[in-house]
């Protein structure tokens, strides 16, 4: 089994009109069904939706000191909306989960394999 990161990508300005309450409810329901499926299948390791990029803080080394900055790392219009970490036998299995995810959240999903993950 290999661990994969399924990351949900949003592009600023691509948002159509903000979702109605009904649309929001349906989205949450689809996501709920998906996550239940992942858990039953033993694929689920961790995951969730993230707060907006405005809530982010970046910490880095600069001249031997730790520098703290307000805002997301990437200046780009694209940002991470959320992610899942799953266990899957191979890429085909991971892609199958990614297909269900993109169908549920209507956003592109990037699938990337982890290098060796240290066991707890």
């Amino acid at each position: 089994m290999t661990q994969y990161l399924l990351s949900v990508h949003s592009v600023e300005g691509e948002a159509r009109d903000p979702m109605t309450e009904e649309e929001m409810r349906q989205l949450m329901e689809r996501v709920g069904v998906l996550e239940d499926e992942m858990k039953s299948a033993g694929a689920w390791l961790f995951g969730g939706a993230l707060h907006d990029p405005d809530t982010a803080t970046v910490v880095r080394m600069s001249d031997g000191e730790v520098l703290t900055t307000d805002g997301p790392f990437a200046e780009s219009k694209e940002h991470l909306g959320g992610f899942y970490i799953i266990d899957a036998d191979d890429l085909d299995a991971a892609l199958a989960w990614a297909s269900k995810t993109t169908a549920a959240v209507s956003k592109p999903i990037e699938v990337r394999p982890f290098r060796h993950v240290s066991e707890a």
């Binding site: 890429l91 085909d92 699938v111 990337r112």
Partner: protein, 388 residues
């Protein structure tokens, strides 16, 4: 035959080698004449072909160990990995090389390298790319297969239609690269070989048979496709006596079987169009109405501008150049040189000579091979570009 089995210790390899030797004989003997000892010639040729194949296959298996090999369902580390026949391994390999997670460039490069057994240098040359670039492309693809764990397996029934599409597309691309790349004419026979393997292993997939038929029928015209000076000879002017009748018969038999199945698809339809051409002793005797109706079906399953262009050419033969030109002018294919070549030919037939000349020039400026460029520079010598 037995001698070959003894040499190779493997009936499949021996059979394939013998079949290839006969194919070469049929190609060469009519023009080169019978060798003094035909039986011995066949055996020697077959043995050499078989050895080449084994060399490539052991290289293939060696190369395969560079990528991740997962045996699905084998949880017992003590049990030896179940090894399928040589053919099953090739099928797994081609589906792995053509996995949708890999770019088309990577799919083609891997297929040629791992299945075709071409060296990195040869693959680079076929696609007019520098060797280090191709080496990088291959390395990246292999890394991805390993790191992302692209599985080494034949897709299951329900996945097959989607997964088969890139495999057929890659084989078709490889064949065409052999047609147009002067350096790598060996690619076409290689593609046919791959198509044969696919057809043997997936006898229930009509599009696989369709692709094989298409390749065989196209290949049957190879000898007549270039003139003695290396120039391009179009379908209409080709010496049909030089068409390989064995390949044609095999291709047409496949097309007939596909028709009986009645599950048409793009490759089968293109094969059928070629089969109609192969039936005609001269261009004038071609059943163009049937070709038009086949193109109608092809356009329905593959609604591309190129298909529309080729359909228009056929319509030109049935309804005349004016109708054809009207259809062609509706297409936005400015960057495609056969578009301009077709317009040029139609304009010429309508007596609009200065427009025709301009269109020929446009086409010649864009033509990818010297043969095509020369052909177009000389005013197309009278026929529009369709199947070659």
């Amino acid at each position: 035959m037995a001698a070959l089995i003894r040499v190779f210790g493997d009936i499949d390899v021996a059979e394939d080698a013998l079949q290839e030797a006969f194919a070469v004989a049929l190609l060469k003997w009519p023009s080169d004449g019978l060798p003094p000892n035909p039986g011995g010639w066949i055996t020697t040729t077959a043995r050499n072909r078989g050895i080449d194949r084994l060399r490539r296959e052991s290289r293939g298996r060696q190369l395969l160990s560079e990528v991740t090999v997962l045996s699905p369902g084998n949880d017992d580390p003590g049990m030896p990995e179940e090894v399928g026949t040589v053919q099953d391994d090739r099928l797994r390999l081609i589906f792995t090389c053509c996995h949708p997670a890999l770019s088309t460039d990577a799919q083609v490069a891997l297929t040629l390298r791992l299945l075709g057994g071409l060296s990195t240098k040869e693959v680079a040359r076929s696609f007019l790319v520098a060797e280090p670039t191709m080496a990088q492309r291959l390395a990246r693809a292999k890394r991805k297969i390993k790191a992302a764990r692209i599985p080494y397996r034949v897709p299951e029934g329900h996945e097959l239609p989607d997964r088969l599409r890139p495999v057929l597309a890659v084989v078709y691309l490889v064949y065409n690269a052999g047609l147009t790349s002067p350096a790598e004419q060996g690619l076409s026979p290689e593609a046919i070989r791959l198509a044969r393997i696919l057809a043997t292993l997936m006898p229930d997939e009509p599009e696989v048979a369709g692709l094989l038929a298409l390749l065989l029928l196209t290949e049957s015209r190879r000898a007549s496709r270039t003139g003695p000076d290396g120039s391009l000879v179009l379908l209409g002017e080709q010496d049909r006596s030089r068409w390989d009748r064995t390949l044609i018969e095999e291709g047409q038999a496949l097309v007939r079987r596909c028709l009986r199945r009645n599950q048409p698809g793009a490759y089968q339809l293109q094969a059928a169009i070629n089969a109609v051409h192969a039936d005609a002793e001269t261009l004038e005797q071609t059943d163009w109405s049937q070709i038009v109706s086949l193109y109608d079906q092809l356009l329905a399953v593959a609604p591309t501008r190129v298909v529309a262009l080729n359909r228009a050419i056929a319509i030109g033969e049935v309804r005349g150049a004016a109708d054809a030109l009207a259809l062609v002018d509706e297409l936005d294919l400015d960057n495609y040189h056969p578009f301009h070549a077709t317009r040029a030919d139609l304009l010429r037939r309508l007596g609009r000579n200065s427009e025709a000349a301009a269109a020929y020039k446009r086409a010649a400026d864009m033509a990818p091979t010297d043969a095509e460029r020369d052909f177009l520079r000389h005013g197309g010598r009278g026929r529009s570009i369709g199947p070659l």
